[in-house]
């Protein structure tokens, strides 16, 4: 047996290795058992979120996606909802890092004409009790049934039509900017550049904004080519 007080090096190494092996085997077994459930959960969550923001559809939007380039080497993911063969809506996941605690990501559901169905925050690390309220209906439902072409997608402080959460203007701006980015991406995808709206957070300086804008323009050609390619891609997915 093992001498508890004065073990040899070999004994110590063997005991530790044995424990490590048994423990790792146990963990690996649990991993194998839970692997499928974890994947299922993640897929379920995505589907649930999508069905929340999209109109009624009968396809699986998680399997019908395109990536839309929005300039600056960035792209957003667009889920396409279909009923029969007709496209009934788009859901676009857009993010920026202009939130109070950094990244904010919003899933925005659109009807084919660009009217917003609903928005839902997928990443929101904002201050609990303040910025976290962006996920609550009082703020998020302002975007319901809103057509960005008709309303100003900015908080009221910046001259827009969105009421910011009290004491959390920065979060409100970041969230609104996500929605605007998603809307512009949709217009890019639909080849409808003229319908684009101003997408700035209000907090950025004008110089910054102009630079962004220019980058956007020079990318338009590229994105048009991209969307053609995407159309082909989506067709081949079908």
């Amino acid at each position: 047996m093992i001498d508890k007080k004065n073990p040899t090096i070999l004994q110590m190494v063997l005991v530790l290795m044995l424990i490590a092996m048994i423990c790792t085997a146990g963990v690996a077994a649990v991993f194998k058992l839970t692997e499928d459930t974890i994947k299922e959960q993640a897929a379920n969550k995505e589907q649930k979120m999508l069905s929340e923001v999209l109109p009624e559809h009968d396809n699986d939007p998680t399997k019908d996606t395109v990536s839309i380039s929005i300039g600056n080497n960035k792209s957003v993911l667009c889920y396409i909802a279909k009923k029969g063969n007709e496209t009934v809506g788009y859901a676009i996941k857009a993010n920026n890092k202009k939130g109070y605690n950094g990244k904010v990501e919003v899933l925005v559901g659109f009807k084919p004409n660009g009217t917003i169905v609903k928005t839902s925050a997928t990443v929101l690390n904002e201050t609990p009790g303040l910025g976290s309220k962006a996920a609550e209906p009082k703020f998020a439902d302002q975007f319901k049934e809103l057509n960005p072409a008709e309303k100003e997608l900015q908080v009221t402080k910046d001259g827009g039509d969105i009421d910011a959460i009290s004491a959390a203007t920065i979060t409100s701006r970041a969230y609104t900017l996500c929605v605007a980015t998603a809307y512009n991406a949709l217009q890019t995808y639909l080849g409808n550049d003229a319908a684009k709206i101003e997408a700035n957070s209000g907090a950025t300086s004008s110089a910054n904004y102009n630079a962004d804008e220019r980058a956007f323009d020079s990318d338009t050609l590229q994105t048009n080519a991209d969307s053609l390619q995407q159309n082909i891609d989506t067709n081949s997915v079908k």
């Binding site: 073990p7 005991v15 424990i19 423990c23 790792t24 963990v27 649990v30 839970t34 609990p128 009790g129």
Partner: protein, 196 residues
Amino acid sequence: MDNKNSKFEIFSKGLIKENPVLVLILGMCPTLGVTSSAINGLGMGLATTFVLLFSNIIISIIKDLIPDKVHIPAYIIVIASLVTILQLLLKGYLPALDESLGLFIPLIVVNCVVLGRAEAFACKNNVVDSALDGLGMGLGFALALTILGAIREILGVGSIFGYKFLAGDGIIGFVLAPGAFIVLGYMVAIAKKLKK
């Protein structure tokens, strides 16, 4: 030692008399970090109880096989494996809880309550006693976290377990970092008073 009374004593001391949070001041990180609501406190408490119970059982079984010199690394391997198993189970079956507890789940590994009980109790006692000790300490931890979470949720948001019963916004400071320290400070003071 083997009569019913002392078994109950082993189990119950963790709840109040030697409460790991309020009396021993151990495991402060999750205590402060996740208790912005009562449900998070309860979830974290029960997650820690799971690890504590099984780590105490396993360690009391293998205690005679481990040379003294390497007992700490051996315990850490056992605890880390249990935490990983817990992490996988939560991801699979309670993803919402996993998301709200976040980083604090893997950090159960370095929760001093777990290693502390392994060192102070499980490596000297038999399996049944160790299991009772782990369960008692874990539930004591869960109790303290749930109370702290409940107080912060009531004062900060005006709700309890997500059920809103007060109109208005509440005192946001209590949901944020400072509230955690201040409420816990008062709780420790009250526990001190009650102990006397």
